[in-house]
């Protein structure tokens, strides 16, 4: 299957939908409803996991069958009902279950209702879930992990591997998060209108960072983690469906698509990173890029360009250039200027300096490089490249060495070493 097919909207359930597919696709929605019914994040997760475990036993062909023998006609409703009953069991087993009587009564009522109307459509509370998982009272890495766990249905082991953590460490992080949500009183709700913009920015950032974790793998041998990129795109799509109004939501989805569309040209067969100017643009996925461009246009028409839309504009200008030489650097520089106006951030300043070096020459670019990024690998890589173009080969080589020393993934290291070697060749 091509990547562009994998990142399309998912299709309806059919006979070939495995339980694992179902878990990936429906976990978030079912969990979102359960948390709302139970008022308890941890209990909801445990009960839903019980329900999936139960489905594994009951739906598998060849097993001794308690009814239902095969996947029921409405697997979502079945899972939700089983999860509710598992929650009732868990509550009754708790030592202080007498204090939980109101919850138990409520759950039994829901159960009776669901039995009476088995075809009733299942609610969707994912918007509440994502705002809770991305709450600013949780630390950033926890927000990423909790979003992948609760919205995307990734297992703790999968999330641990994505962050190169031990599974036990990740399990502990997730347990601490559930504990904090419950005991600190983090609400399960979509923020009020006056807080929405700031809280939405936290949600968008989490999705963006999940994508980045996959697209610019910070360390190790894997040059790109498609699973993380695709989960982020799926989340951005879901958010677009749930909250279609804010232009930044469209802007984020556009940015992810316009970036991901270019991944096929990023690596040489030897696994070295290929810089933009040497990429084979015919390897860019035009279909994915076109969807990104259309989304961006719709977002910009609303006239409130935020940081994700502006980054998407920059990405779009690269995608639209037929060749590297045809890149509209003046427009790109303008977008960076507007980004700087929104938030004075040294990483944006670095990228702006690179754009400036293509508009006004390497000397102007060097002069515009920001300070305070001495431990940031991309700073030294960008500086090395501008120095090389300025003909300052000795300084360029020193900058390449600095960048190589800070590089922790092999694709970037191979590229930087090749660049440096080429400079030495020019000199001898």
């Amino acid at each position: 299957m091509r990547d562009s097919e994998k990142i399309k909207d998912s299709a309806a359930i059919d006979d070939t939908t495995s339980l694992q597919d179902l878990m990936r696709r429906d976990w978030g929605r079912l969990l979102s409803v359960l948390i709302s019914d139970l008022g308890d994040f941890a209990l909801a997760e445990d009960s839903l996991a019980d329900a999936f475990a139960s489905a594994l036993t009951h739906w598998s062909p060849g097993r001794p069958t308690n009814p239902p023998a095969n996947p029921p006609s409405n697997p979502r409703a079945w899972l939700l009902q089983v999860a509710r009953r598992k929650a009732i069991d868990r509550l009754r087993r708790q030592q202080n279950h007498r204090t939980k009587l109101p919850e138990l009564t409520y759950l039994r009522e829901l159960d009776a209702q669901a039995s009476a109307e088995p075809e009733q459509e299942i609610r969707d509370e994912r918007l509440r879930l994502i705002f809770t998982a991305c709450h600013p009272a949780l630390d950033q890495k926890t927000r990423l992990a909790l979003t992948l766990r609760s919205l995307c249905g990734l297992t703790t082991g999968e999330i641990a591997r994505a962050f190169l953590d031990k599974e036990a460490t990740m399990a502990q992080r997730l347990a601490r998060a559930r504990n904090k949500i419950a005991r600190a009183g983090i609400p399960y709700q979509v923020p009020k209108a006056e807080d929405l913009e700031q809280r939405l920015s936290s949600v968008l950032t989490v999705i963006y960072l999940i994508f980045n974790e996959g697209y610019s793998v910070s360390q190790g041998e894997d040059p790109i983690r498609h699973d993380l990129c695709q989960e982020a795109i799926r989340l951005a799509r879901e958010l677009r469906d749930l909250l279609p109004q804010p232009p930044e939501v469209l802007g984020l989805l556009a940015l992810l698509l316009l970036t991901y569309a270019r991944h096929g040209a990023r690596l040489s067969p030897e696994g070295a990173a290929i810089p933009l100017e040497e990429q084979d643009r015919s390897l860019w996925d035009q279909e994915v890029a076109d969807e990104g461009l259309a989304l961006l246009e719709r977002a910009l028409r609303r006239g409130r360009a935020g940081p994700f839309q502006l980054q998407a504009v920059i990405s779009a200008l690269h995608v639209e250039a037929e060749t590297f030489a045809a890149t509209d650097w003046a427009e790109i520089l303008l977008a960076y200027d507007r980004l700087m106006g929104l938030a004075d951030n040294p990483v944006v300043a670095l990228n702006r300096a690179v754009a400036l070096s293509f508009v006004k020459g390497p000397a102007a670019g060097l002069a515009a490089l920001p300070g305070q990024l001495d431990h940031y690998q991309p700073f030294h890589a960008a500086r090395a490249d501008i120095l090389r173009r300025a003909g300052q080969h000795k300084d360029a080589k020193a900058a390449y060495d600095r960048a190589i020393g800070l590089t922790r993934n092999s694709a970037d290291r191979r590229f930087l070493q090749a660049r440096k070697a080429r400079l030495s060749l020019l000199e001898s």
Binding site: D139, A184, G185, P191
Partner: protein, 117 residues
């Protein structure tokens, strides 16, 4: 004059509820509280949830910044307290960020333990 007694203790030092020492330990707290009440000096007091439930709030450039965890800076000292009865953490953050001190320092929000749970 009113005084505030601030209790500092390494988390996990106290006897756990399943230990034999827990009962006598709790009884001592109750005895002392009774002494305070009988003496007419008691104005209030509560145990707090552990620091794992803490959220630190500060306001910089008009924007509220929240951080997971307790306030850890040693340059700044505890300068006062409010007890706020809020529906949830978002409300507590909203009110805490209105405090003028949030612009200069940090306000740590920690839930008061609820014995009915």
């Amino acid at each position: 004059m009113k005084y505030m007694a601030l209790i500092y203790m390494a988390e996990g030092r106290e006897p756990t509820p399943d230990s034999a020492e827990f009962g006598p330990w709790m009884a001592r707290w109750q005895e002392v509280t009774k002494i305070f009440e009988d003496a007419g000096v008691m104005r209030g007091g509560d145990p707090l949830e552990p620091t794992a439930t803490a959220t630190s709030v500060r306001v910089r450039g008009g924007k509220t910044e929240t951080m997971d965890g307790p306030f850890a800076e040693t340059k700044e000292q505890l300068g006062g307290y409010y007890i706020l009865d809020c529906a949830h953490l978002d409300e507590a953050i909203k009110y805490a960020s209105m405090l003028p001190a949030a612009e200069l320092g940090t306000v740590e929000i920690r839930p008061i333990m609820d014995y009915s749970e």
